[in-house]
């Protein structure tokens, strides 16, 4: 691969420490991240193509992967709608308690996932604060895939809000004034001028929230119910296989998740590059 970082500073610089800091960074990364991660693929490769496929295509694994990715997608989609809306309200409107609520948005970043998991369960269980009102309506949240979506929404929200917020903040009011001067009504201005400006950021936030939720474990397992084939997520399946000392199976599932996640990462980077090119600052 040609993109491997190498200690080759192009313009000579007077600032010291290049070899030391880059060397340390690469060493740290290699020892702690790259080599161990490569281990997953080496282990998985030990299964052989057929063995690997057998594990990954088993109904239980497929169901778990489908659930993890499906629920993450649903959660990210919910956030893709509400995240920009929340960002809009916080950037454009004034209301009491704004600073407090703005801080609360970051809660999923700071709150340990296990704590979030049991708290969400307490809220959405059949006898919980919110669950008790939903149950009579026939809506069961906790211990169903719906609960997993709720957890995915919880952990993903700040990703969308915090990527869209600065973009809205920087959006020039002049663009909206220009649209109005050209005869656009407010709805046309929002849909044709503001939303396209925000779209790349919202997509990036969506992808980040999705990537995070796919691998999420702590906040989901308490609310999920963990029924095989129904509400068992892929990370849990890895743990179950580990506990059964089925290391090969665990690595197979893990590598499948990794590959899918890396594909996502590529998409995120592509989106950001696209957004940078297309929406380079016009000044």
């Amino acid at each position: 691969m040609s993109a491997v970082p190498g200690p080759r500073p192009r313009p000579r610089t007077v600032i010291p420490g290049f070899g030391l800091t880059l060397g340390y960074t690469l060493l740290y990364l290699s020892l702690l991240v790259l080599i161990p991660l490569a281990g997953v693929f080496v282990h998985a490769a030990g299964l052989g193509a057929e063995g690997y496929w057998q594990v990954v295509s088993s109904p239980r694994v497929l169901a778990a992967l489908k659930l993890s990715f499906g629920a993450a997608l649903a959660g990210a989609a919910i956030n893709a709608v509400f995240g920009p809306l929340i960002a809009w309200v916080f950037v454009r409107y004034e209301f009491p308690g704004k600073r407090f609520f703005d801080a609360v948005i970051d809660l999923p970043f700071a709150l340990p996932t296990a704590v979030a998991g049991i708290a969400l369960t307490a809220l959405y269980a059949g006898n919980g604060w919110i669950g008790q009102y939903l149950e009579p309506l026939g809506i069961k949240v906790a211990y169903t895939p719906l609960g997993i979506i709720v957890a995915c929404t919880f952990i993903g929200l700040p990703f969308v809000v915090r990527t869209v917020q600065p973009v809205l903040q920087d959006a020039e009011k002049e663009l909206e004034e220009a649209a109005a001067s050209l005869g656009a009504n407010r709805w046309q201005t929002v849909t044709r001028v503001i939303l396209p400006t925000v779209l790349p950021a919202a997509l990036t936030g969506f992808a980040l929230a999705f990537a995070r939720a796919v691998g999420e474990y702590g906040s989901i397992i308490f609310i999920a119910g963990n029924l095989p084939m129904v509400s068992e997520i892929a990370p849990l399946l890895i743990i179950i296989k580990l506990e059964e000392f089925d290391y090969a199976g665990a690595t197979a599932v893990a590598s499948a998740m990794l590959i899918l996640s890396f594909a996502l990462l590529l998409v995120i980077n592509g989106l950001q590059a696209w957004a940078r090119r297309r929406h380079a600052h016009v000044r």
């Binding site: 600032i15 800091t21 970051d106 708290a119 996640s261």
Partner: protein, 305 residues
């Protein structure tokens, strides 16, 4: 050709140096919505935040105190809980400094120099954000576990990594190492290299430049990164869960202790320990809000966690 004009130029109040267009634009009908639209959107946004974020937080504390204050404290001073708290503090005390050094070194290399593969390196640093914490735990089991590459050798020499504190530390480092680097890179990118060049031109050594010029410039960003890193290190669950072995009193961190108590149906005890972690989160958010309010310009403009 010339004329005396009766100049009645009165002095109007002085103009503020640079008057702010903000408040008047807000009233401008061209760029805002009808009041009912504004109120509806605000209400929807706040209800969403209330239901998804605020209520869970509240639930932690309410459930923790359900059986009274004395039961709450009893759950915290119980020996296994104390051991979990001690272990969590120990893990944070080891991982945060290690990641601090890494974060500063990585940010220095990336922002002060140009080299090939830089953006690839940045992507590598972001990697843990898109790797499931469970996988993060798994990779160390694969190396240090009984069936792992280094497992047998370690066993022969009586060194325990998996299902012991070193394994927990490794998994925690993996999950938390991007936080400080991620906070510093955009900040130091913005500041460029002029300050350092100025210091060097004045005869400062590399270390002097770093300590006296760079560090003061990035201190708030650094603090912020440390804070986030610490919160995640203390609260990490998935990765630690895989590699710890859940041995009570020995390899049980606070989040794992919460899980054990919860699974044993000791709900208020579980929430009591969880409330400590929630408090940690609140303090983190509080300091973050304060930093953004007071030193907003000295924090990175764009941040992703």
């Amino acid at each position: 050709m010339s004329a005396i004009t009766d100049s009645t130029l009165q002095d109007p109040p002085r103009l503020p140096p640079e008057f702010d267009r903000g408040p008047l634009m807000r009233r401008n009908a061209a760029v805002t919505e009808a009041p009912w639209v504004r109120w509806t959107l605000t209400a929807v946004a706040l209800l969403f935040l209330l239901g998804f974020l605020f209520l869970p937080l509240l639930a932690v504390f309410v459930e923790a105190l359900r059986n009274g204050v004395s039961a709450y404290f009893a759950a915290l001073v119980e020996p296994d809980a104390l051991a979990a708290i001690r272990l969590t503090l120990l893990i944070a005390a080891i991982t945060v400094p290690l990641n601090l050094v890494f974060g500063v070194a990585a940010a220095w290399a990336i922002t002060k120099f140009e080299f090939r593969g830089k953006s690839f390196l940045i992507s590598l640093i972001d990697l843990p954000f898109s790797v499931s914490p469970v996988v993060a735990g798994l990779i160390y089991i694969l190396i240090f576990g009984a069936q792992g590459w280094a497992g047998p050798w370690l066993m022969d020499h009586g060194i325990k990594v998996a299902f012991a504190v070193p394994g927990i530390v490794l998994a925690t480092i993996f999950v938390t190492f991007p936080f400080i680097a991620r906070e510093l890179i955009p900040l130091m990118q913005e500041q460029g290299t002029e300050y350092e060049q100025a210091a060097l031109s004045l005869g400062a050594s590399g270390w002097q430049t770093f300590w006296r010029v760079t560090v003061p410039n990035i201190r708030w960003g650094l603090l912020y990164g440390v804070l986030l890193c610490n919160a995640r290190a203390m609260g990490e669950f998935g990765a630690v869960s895989v590699i710890s072995g859940h041995i009570r009193g020995q390899t049980n961190t606070m989040p794992l202790h919460v899980e054990i108590l919860y699974n044993e149906y000791q709900f208020s005890a579980a929430f009591a320990v969880a409330s400590l972690l929630a408090l940690l989160a609140l303090v983190t958010l509080g300091v973050k809000t304060y930093l953004e309010w007071r030193h907003g310009d000295e924090l990175a403009a764009t941040r992703k966690h």
